[in-house]
Structure formats: structure tokens, C-alpha cells
């Protein structure tokens, strides 16, 4: 038999490891506000594997979406046709998100800092950017309003930066007490899942700490991929390698 794109004998790519680890973080029957891209892929993988009762909410107003293929945009008809209900955008951000009804917000980003603040706006100065990125979308209020937040993005010197070029979305702001001071009710980012491992905020300082490494990844590697002096957990967990089922479901979703 020839090796097709869904052949689970082919080892996982770093991106697939990231998506599978992110999917594992979602608990069945949670209500999850999903950003498009890697977060949507991971949330759909979770629903198709260990969390069949996961409730997917998209900012286009789709509540309880059950897509059978990955949506390319949040306005995809596959989302509206499979949802429990479709509400207006005004309603999704007010009655459903701002009111605190969503368990977990699932976001990507171009840049992240040590307090899990996110940039999706510009690389370089705001008024004359080197790269103009798409912008905020729903992220600022998703991070503000969900009970907790999971962030997923690749880990390297360009994305894990000492100082964001622009703070689009508040994680922990400048540190302890900032979320409360700013009036944000949710707990903020509780996990950052990358292609190298997982980071979690220190409960006291709110600073991200590397707590898990994916298979074969070293602490030297994650330090070198981080633009600040990265804290490493005293007891590092090792990511369980993806199962054939996880890889198979992910590859079927993506092809």
C-alpha cells in the first residue's frame, strides 16, 4: 500500500504535534470559543476524538457547530448548517461571550510575551509597519471574557518576543493583579501550546513557565527559541507521542 497523506506511519510534523497537544487540552462537554486556523483544527480534532460533546462556538455567531470538514473561514456555511443555533455577531459577543458563558477561548497569535499578551496587529512600528498583520478580530474580548484561555502558536525567536510590537490582546498585562485592575473576569491564558512543548503561567508571578516538552525536544532548544530568559519547570513533563488514532483523525480532517 502506498503512503498517502493520512498514513499514520509517517511521523508527526512539529505543527501536528502542536495541534494534537492543543486538542488534548480540551475537556469533553466544555464550551469552547474557537479562533480560525490551528485553534479550529485542534478543537475539531478534539471533538472528533476524545471530546465528542465539546461545544464549538465561532465568532460568526455559530453556537454548537459540528462541521464534518474543517471550515476555511468563520463564515463557512458548513458551520451555520451544523450549528444548534446561529445568532448575530452583536449577540455572540454580548449575551454569550461578555456575559461569561464560555469555558475556554482558543486563540492563535503572531507574537507572545512572557505574560502571554498577544500581538496580531503589526510587526514593526504601528504607523509604518514592516508587516501589517490582519488585526484583532475577536481575540481581545475572547481573552477578556472566557473563563480561561488556551493559546497555540509556533515557538521561535520571531514569535516568542521580549517586547511585543503591539499589544492586541491582554493575557496577564504587566503581571499579577493586572487582569483584575483592568476589569477582566476570566482567569486568562492557562496554557500556551507550541510546536516544542507547553507553557503555563506561574500562579504567583503570572510569568510563562515551560512545563512540558514534546518528544525529542530539549530544554536548550526551547531556550534558544524564546526571546526572553525562559523559566523552566523543576519537574518537566514529556508529551505523550501522538497515537495512530489522533494522527489519523487529524490527517483526515486536514486533507
Amino acid at each position: 500500500m502506498s503512503a498517502g497523506p493520512t498514513d499514520t506511519m509517517i511521523p508527526p510534523t512539529p505543527r501536528e504535534l502542536m495541534v494534537i497537544s492543543a486538542a488534548r487540552a480540551l475537556v469533553d462537554a466544555q464550551v469552547c470559543f474557537v479562533g480560525i486556523g490551528a485553534p479550529s483544527t485542534a478543537a475539531n480534532l478534539a471533538r472528533a476524538s476524545h471530546a465528542p460533546q465539546l461545544v464549538l462556538v465561532y465568532e460568526s455567531g455559530c453556537i454548537g457547530a459540528k462541521p464534518t470538514r474543517l471550515p476555511l473561514s468563520i463564515g463557512d456555511g458548513e458551520l451555520s448548517k451544523t450549528s444548534d443555533t446561529v445568532v448575530s455577531v452583536a449577540e455572540i459577543f454580548t449575551y454569550w461571550l461578555q456575559s461569561g458563558r464560555i469555558d475556554v477561548g482558543f486563540l492563535g497569535a503572531a507574537q507572545i510575551d512572557r505574560f502571554a499578551n498577544l500581538n496580531t496587529t503589526v510587526v514593526g512600528p504601528y504607523n509604518r509597519p514592516t508587516v501589517r498583520l490582519p488585526g484583532a478580530g475577536g481575540a481581545p474580548e475572547i481573552a477578556a471574557g472566557c473563563r480561561s484561555v488556551i493559546v497555540t502558536l509556533p515557538q521561535n525567536q520571531r514569535s516568542f518576543v521580549r517586547r511585543l510590537d503591539f499589544r492586541t490582546t491582554v493575557g496577564f498585562g504587566d503581571g499579577p493583579g493586572d487582569r483584575r485592575r483592568l476589569g477582566y473576569r476570566g482567569a486568562g491564558p492557562q496554557m500556551v501550546v507550541t510546536d516544542l512543548g507547553v507553557l503555563r503561567p506561574d500562579p504567583e508571578s503570572n510569568e510563562l513557565v515551560m512545563t512540558d516538552l514534546h518528544p525529542d525536544v530539549t530544554t536548550e532548544q526551547v531556550r534558544a527559541a524564546t526571546g526572553w530568559d525562559l523559566r523552566i519547570a523543576e519537574r518537566m513533563e514529556r508529551t505523550r507521542p501522538p497515537s495512530a488514532e489522533e494522527l489519523g483523525v487529524l490527517r483526515r480532517l486536514e486533507h
Partner: protein
């Protein structure tokens, strides 16, 4: 496209084209391309998720200002004409006024409600509250909580695409309705293009109905949302979004494409 004559006769300064939903649904590509053919300049364009038609209008120099909350090619990557305008002033400078989806949506809600501003729990601690003048802090008169106020948005004209109208001019749209109702009701005037004109609207679950007296103009424009979709009529043309990446990346390729596909075609 009979309705475009009205745009020509009575030029809008502020065009909100929530041709889509929040994000992405019913792109008013047909009306947007007529704006390009008419050589309009200095427009302020508004939309939560500007996409291909906005990239075309920006690349052809129709826009001076863009009010938006997410400007990318969904599932593909960048809007290259938008980026070229912001990063290199080509074909001219483009002022940006950017919000989050929630903030820009509440600007429409305030406009539609006849209120001076909308209010939300957001923006605080972000860079957006520093760069966007239409966001200001406000304090709850009951609890003292600090919140964000966003000024009402009242476009001169809103253009949307819907599925059906009846012969009396009542409009029905369904599927993902986004902010289309709010964008129409916030505007001073509105143009609605529809897939089909039917004898009688049959109510659908979750649909939005705009009575004829709440809109200004109606035009029939089948497939007027292409390459986006109109639920029940046409699917999203994903290949067109992919293809746009290559077309729009290079200025000369873009201009040649526009000449062939837009400027040379009658509305």
C-alpha cells in the same frame, strides 16, 4: 446592476459594505466592482472583515480610509493590496481605524439604535485604546466600573447582499447574518442586492427580515456575493480566494487582472 446608478448620482463619502456577515458571508463583489469602474476616490470604507473586493478597491485607489477589525484572506493569508497600501503607500496612503470585532459591531449597534455610543468590557490595556480615537473610557453611573465606549457609526451608505426579496421590496436573508441588519439600520441610506425576487417570502428559522421601508434601494444581482456564498444559492469559491493570493501579490499582475476582469466589463 441598476442600483449603481444611484451611487453615481449621489456620491457616498462613507461606504459600509457589510457584505458579509461579521466576518465573511455575503461579499458584495458586484457592487464593489462597479465602484471601481466608476473610478471613485477618497472613500472611507467600513467592514469588520474586509476581503477580496476591499483589496481590489484599495489597490485601485478608491479608498482613503479603512475602518475594520480583521483584514486578511480567510484560510489563505494576507490581503496584499491592503498591506502594500499600509506598508508602502501604494497606490496612495491609507488611513486605518481599527477595532476588535466586538467594538466595531457595537459601533453599528449604537448607530442603528440612535445612540451616541456603544459600551463594552474590552480594549483596556490593549494598544487599540491608544491608536483608535473612536474608543474612550467610560464609567458605569451605577457601579463605577470602567468600561470602553465606542462612538456610533453611521455610514452614508451600506451595501449588503441577501438571498431574497418579494415584489413589495421586503428582504429576507438567512444563514450567518453577521452584522448586516445593524449595518443597514445604522446607515443613512442602504442598497440591498438579492439573489432572487420572489412572489412571496416564506419565513425561515433564524432569518433576518428587513421591511421594504427600512431600506433605500433594492437590486437583483444573482451570484452577487461571489466568490463568497449565499446560503441556499451558491457555495464559497475557495479556489478564487487561493488564486487571489497570487494575483494580488504583485502590482503589475494585479493591475493586469483588474483591467481584464473588472475595468473591461460592463456592470
Amino acid at each position: 446592476m441598476e442600483a449603481v446608478g444611484v451611487i453615481r448620482a449621489d456620491p457616498p463619502e462613507l461606504v459600509a459594505s457589510e457584505l458579509g456577515t461579521a466576518p465573511v458571508v455575503r461579499r458584495r463583489l458586484a457592487a464593489g466592482q462597479e465602484i471601481i469602474r466608476q473610478g471613485r476616490r477618497d472613500l472611507t470604507l467600513v467592514r469588520l472583515t474586509p476581503d477580496l473586493i476591499y483589496d481590489q478597491m484599495i489597490g485601485m485607489g478608491c479608498a482613503r480610509r479603512l475602518i475594520f477589525s480583521w483584514g486578511g484572506n480567510p484560510g489563505v493569508g494576507s490581503l496584499h493590496r491592503l498591506r502594500d497600501a499600509v506598508e508602502n503607500d501604494w497606490p496612495g496612503p491609507l488611513d486605518l481605524e481599527e477595532h476588535s470585532h466586538a467594538g466595531l459591531t457595537l459601533r453599528y449597534v449604537a448607530g442603528a439604535s440612535g445612540l451616541p455610543f456603544g459600551v463594552l468590557r474590552g480594549y483596556r490595556g490593549t494598544g487599540l485604546e491608544k491608536v483608535t480615537a473612536s474608543v474612550r473610557p467610560i464609567f458605569c453611573p451605577f457601579t463605577g466600573e470602567q468600561l470602553a465606549a465606542v462612538s456610533a457609526l453611521r455610514p452614508d451608505v451600506t451595501v449588503i447582499h441577501a438571498q431574497q426579496a418579494d415584489r413589495a421590496g421586503n428582504v429576507q436573508l438567512w444563514g450567518i447574518s453577521g452584522v448586516q441588519k445593524e449595518a443597514v439600520l445604522a446607515a443613512h441610506r442602504s442598497l440591498v442586492t438579492v439573489e432572487e425576487i420572489v412572489d412571496r417570502l416564506i419565513p425561515r428559522p433564524g432569518s433576518v427580515v428587513l421591511p421594504s421601508w427600512s431600506i433605500t434601494l433594492l437590486a437583483r444581482a444573482p451570484k452577487g456575493a461571489h466568490p463568497s456564498y449565499a446560503e441556499g444559492y451558491s457555495d464559497r469559491d475557495n479556489n478564487a480566494y487561493q488564486a487571489w493570493d497570487a494575483v494580488s501579490r504583485d502590482r503589475a499582475t494585479f493591475l493586469a487582472w483588474m483591467t481584464e476582469h473588472v475595468l473591461g466589463r460592463a456592470g
